[in-house]
């Protein structure tokens, strides 16, 4: 990737390999993966369980360091960042959405969304106002003070999405975001992800088995045995 390129890819993977373990028990979770994603794309990564999709997302999200190869996201070579810089990168550049929502059980919906803002140093009042606005935008105006245990699956995932967007990160990483939702709530989450790409030019990378996402994805990738292959759009 050329630094002076006028429109650099927001995500760029070059012959990335991730090996777990060593010797005879070594596992190549990702094997020579290449990926270029311009800003404002919705990339769907398909593939069977254990194919390396989550490892790939973890590499892009700065949660793992590649064994070999280069991962560049939002202009940063993640291999060159210290662990503190990587944490800051994840906080400000990446929004994570997980299959099992991973909300903080003791906090209300609003407080959950405030977490990244408070980590970034926002004031309590500023974080509260912004969190409320995000949740209202996602149709959760009446759920601000509810704890996760009092929310439906769809509501939980919308809170998780609001949390992912709290600091306006350019890249959203979603791991099976519809995997724990019923059909109607799944469609709602897909619509919201599409909205982020179309209306806000965010880049969304989704690992999923959900075929409905293929209809809104702008780029399709297939992952199997650690290899990443680009698929033609239907």
């Amino acid at each position: 990737m050329n630094e002076s390129s006028p429109a650099p890819d927001i995500v760029h993977l070059q012959t990335v390999t991730k090996i777990y373990g060593s010797g005879e028990t070594a596992v190549r979770a990702v094997d020579g993966a290449n990926l270029s994603v311009p800003a404002g794309e919705l990339v769907l990564i398909l593939g069977p369980s254990g194919a390396g999709k989550t490892t790939l997302l973890s590499l892009i999200g700065g949660l793992l360091q590649p064994t070999t190869g280069t991962v560049r996201v939002a202009g940063r070579d993640l291999g060159q960042l210290s662990s503190a810089a990587l944490a800051d990168f994840r906080l400000r550049q990446i929004g994570f959405v997980f299959q099992f929502f991973q909300l903080f059980a003791a906090l209300t919906a609003c407080e959950n969304v405030e977490v990244p803002m408070r980590l970034a140093g926002s004031s309590a009042q500023g974080a509260r106002q912004q969190a409320e606005q995000l949740l209202i935008r996602f149709g959760l105006a009446k759920r601000l003070g509810h704890r996760p245990q009092d929310l439906s699956g769809g509501e939980k995932q919308r809170v998780a999405l609001a949390r992912a967007l709290a600091l306006h990160p350019p890249v959203i990483i979603a791991d099976e975001p519809t995997g724990s939702l019923d059909s109607r709530n799944g469609e709602e989450v897909i619509r919201l992800l599409q909205q982020l790409v179309n209306d806000e030019q965010r880049t969304v990378l989704v690992a999923s088995h959900d075929q409905r996402i293929t209809q809104v994805a702008t780029q399709l990738m297939y992952c199997e045995d650690g290899h990443l292959i680009e698929l033609p759009r239907p």
């Binding site: 503190a84 944490a87 906090l107």
Partner: protein, 367 residues
Amino acid sequence: MFLLARKNLLVHRSRFLLAMSGISSAVILVLLLMGLYDGWREHMSAYLNHVNTDVWIGQKGAYDLFQTVSFLPAEGEELLREADGVKKVVPFVGRLITVEIRRQKRHSFIVGVADADSGPVEIVHGSAALHDGEIVIDEVFARKERLTVGDSLIAKDKPLRIIGVARGGNCFLYQYGFVTLAQARQLFSMDGLVNYFLVQLASDVSVAEAVAQIEEISPLVSAFSKAQFTANTLSLTGDNFLPILRVLEVIGLLVGTIVIGLTVSTLTVERSAEYGVLKAVGAPNRTLYWTAIQQALICGLGGWLIGVPASWGVMAAAQYFVPQFPAVTYSHHALWMLGGTIVMSLLAAAFPIRRIAGIDPLLAFKG
């Protein structure tokens, strides 16, 4: 992240309350021992500080009031009185004896009072105007044995009527009682003998010089300044007994540390996935460590807030049921304990911090 630290702690209220009671128990134990330590020293020295003397003179080799033996001929009083720089000499006769109360044997350190200089610290009931056949007892002894003015006790087969109850004579193991000097001599069979001489010096005489001079002139006596004699009396038991209290205090602090550490560590294990999520979404390690420290401090300071007033209650109850219990309460004990609690909390946070450091952020991807 204080909000998350606090709310996670309070998710399981019963467990939090259990942890609070464990920590506050440790705080109570340490404060009780601190109160006992200071109280013991104060009670032990109260009478010796009250005695009006500059120099204690005893038999050569005598060192303190309770543990070493001292007998001197009573005529020494005249010799001392004639010495330069001596303002007043008071004979002191005192010994630990067994007295009989309602046919029960009890111990009391009986002092023969020559005048007010060696009398009780402060009369709280009755009178201090002693005659033969009368005794002034300590208020702790009175409460312990349910005695009051007008009652009698028996010492060496002689009945002694209680004419007064005094404060400041509780030595924990036994209490002071006061009789006339003649009565004491009779009780102890010490005709012509005293245990010590209390010497008051003229105002222009240095105590240190007087002590040195007395020992030089008479090689058969030991002389001590009042402060030194008090320190000697405290040290013989204090050197052996008080360090045990210090050991127990350290054990109390350790128990508190372990309870805090267990509480926060258990919480950390339970919330491992949440810590993984926090790591994944970009919380730096120092923030996560600070979360554990905050939780430990909440536990510790909560235990301190409950433990301090509870310790006052426990001490009051202890003194009600065990009158000779010499504990005292001081605000500086509570402040010292506050420091101790903060140290306990910080040490306890080391357990969960180690665990947090090992949590994999990829846990966030798991169910």
